[in-house]
């Protein structure tokens, strides 16, 4: 692997232990995947922030890096944490709050933006054709497919190393030849809502594994629908991107052909519910994190209807979007819902809060919650989720 003079100095330890450690990670991963060099990135996004999924081990490493003067070279954002201080934090024991807060402190010392979101593209949209080192799989697929940026599916530590060096090894999806579709997917049914886009993602991820699809027949390709598709595709598959615009589908003759029919979507939707629950403990919207438009839509659909006493109703988003959505947040919370900022249900302590059944419009949550949250899941479109959560 070719290294510039400066990269070699970092590798040899002339720029301190943290930089050397991070450079070693990038170079070794580059060698593993036959990268010829490192490329500059415009941003990094690090997963592995929740104390629930991390446990104690990473905090020690993060602290060591920060103590040795580690500092990010590019804009570097963070995935959601396990609790928020305003609502969930108050219901959980102090030791959990402290340990979570210590993890955030170490990231902050190294210059990370306390974005705490799985949708960093709502905070600052990367430029098309820019190289990134992002680790949240739903954001990786969205960035490559919808924004047209270039990022491999990084792990937490490799994204962290890239943030500190400001570069990433040049392999995989950073090479144009690896962004070509392998399968031509024709969706032979009109997808009715974002929930069905999620089901399509789950179905295709299982079928294609790491083969990039060119998808035809999506109809409405609102950003919200594409976000649900991205998150679901990354849950069941190792795919890093999909194509959905006609112009990017030039050579399709030689591709493997896949036809998705109405019954495939219907069967996938049904398979994502582990049980049909009419009175779930939690109704959850916001995986991936809600956009401003989605929060507005929820508020408008709720009108003045109150959340049922026996039901928790959570809407998850970033602090940035929550602040922008001021009046809608007030309305949702006035009616008994909770707009939780910087938190992700999948990596939060739902079991400790007594939540055993979850209804959600997110295919990704439906896929992960049975194992990550030990919960029964009912998978429904947004409107039905709201009907279930609200009185009258």
């Amino acid at each position: 692997m070719y290294l510039t003079k400066e990269e070699e100095r970092i590798y040899d330890g002339e720029r301190g232990w943290t930089n050397q450690m991070c450079m070693r990670i990038l170079v070794r991963l580059g060698e593993l995947f036959n990268a010829a060099k490192l490329v500059r990135i415009s941003s990094a996004h690090v997963s592995g922030v929740s104390y629930k999924t991390l446990g104690d081990a990473p905090a020690e490493f993060l602290e060591a890096l920060a103590n040795a003067g580690g500092n990010v070279k590019v804009r570097a954002t963070l995935n959601p944490q396990s609790l928020d201080t305003e609502y969930l934090g108050r219901k959980l024991e102090q030791s959990l709050r402290e340990k979570q807060s210590n993890i955030l402190k170490q990231f902050e010392r190294m210059g990370f933006t306390e974005s705490l979101t799985c949708t960093p593209y709502y905070l600052k949209k990367p430029k098309s054709d820019s190289h990134l080192a992002w680790a949240e799989s739903s954001a990786v697929v969205y960035a490559n497919s919808v924004i047209g940026a270039w990022t491999n599916r990084e792990g937490g530590p490799s994204a962290l190393a890239a943030a500190i060096i400001g570069k990433t090894p040049d392999y995989g999806i950073h090479k144009p030849e690896n962004r070509q579709p392998k399968a031509l997917v024709t969706v032979d049914t009109a997808l009715k809502n974002p929930t069905e886009f999620g089901a399509l993602g789950i179905y295709l991820g299982r079928l294609l594994r790491d083969g990039i699809p060119a998808i035809q027949g999506l109809g409405d390709t609102s950003e919200n629908c594409l976000k649900q598709l991205s998150a679901a595709l990354a849950s069941t598959g190792m795919v890093n991107m999909f194509h959905f615009k006609r112009k990017s589908q030039a050579k399709t003759e030689r591709l493997e052909k896949v036809c998705v029919e109405a019954r495939d979507i219907k069967n996938t939707v049904e398979s994502l519910s582990t049980r049909e629950v009419s009175k779930p403990d939690l109704v959850f919207i916001g995986c991936p994190h809600c956009s401003l438009g989605e929060i507005k839509k929820i508020a408008l659909l709720m009108k003045d209807k109150k959340v049922k006493k026996e039901t928790e109703f959570w809407v998850c988003t970033s602090h940035y979007i929550k602040e922008k959505a001021g009046e809608y947040v007030v309305q949702i919370e006035k009616n008994g819902g909770h707009v939780l900022a910087g938190v992700c249900t999948i990596v939060s302590w739902t079991e400790k809060l007594g939540i055993r059944t979850i209804m959600t419009n997110s295919a990704k949550t439906a896929y992960y919650a049975p194992t990550m949250n030990k919960a029964e899941v009912t998978f429904r479109p947004l409107k039905e989720c709201l009907t279930t959560a609200l009185r009258g």
């Binding site: 070693r24 081990a57 990473p58 937490g156």
Partner: protein, 137 residues
């Protein structure tokens, strides 16, 4: 019996000699190895209950969450880490873990030649693994 020598690729430099702990199954460090004791805790794993401390840990490759890399760091801080790691195929989780924990590591080694209890030597300079003495029984 003369020393058996196996070729491989050096992933993290280092030289050491210790007893081998060998598994035919992949290892997930997150959830599969207890960072507080160094014991393999994944149910149904052929090494379940074994401690990785001080051993040369040989397994095909890692799997599971990238948080697993941090578990290797934690083991090393508590002096519970393996002395070296030998894989058939290196994967990012184990490679990053070995780098940050400073554990000598090689891959592309035919680990089927190594048996648990064998005394083996990892030579990071020559890029070889030597079976110094076969284990008893």
């Amino acid at each position: 019996m003369p020393n058996r020598t196996l070729k491989g690729r050096v992933v993290v430099e280092g030289h050491c000699k210790a007893r081998a702990l060998v598994s035919a199954k992949p290892i997930s460090f997150l959830g599969g190895v207890d960072p507080a004791t160094g014991k393999i805790i994944e149910k149904d794993h052929d090494l379940c209950g074994e401690s990785v401390k001080g051993k040369i840990l040989c397994f095909p490759h890692g799997h599971g969450s990238t948080v697993g890399s941090y578990v290797l760091y934690s083991l090393s801080k508590r002096r519970l880490a393996p002395k070296a790691i030998i894989n058939q195929t290196a994967d990012p989780v184990v490679v990053v873990g070995a780098i940050i924990a400073n554990i000598p590591m090689m891959d592309q080694v035919d680990i089927s030649e190594i048996k648990t209890g064998d005394l083996i030597e990892v030579d990071g300079r020559e890029g070889v693994v030597r079976i110094v003495a076969k284990g008893e029984g």
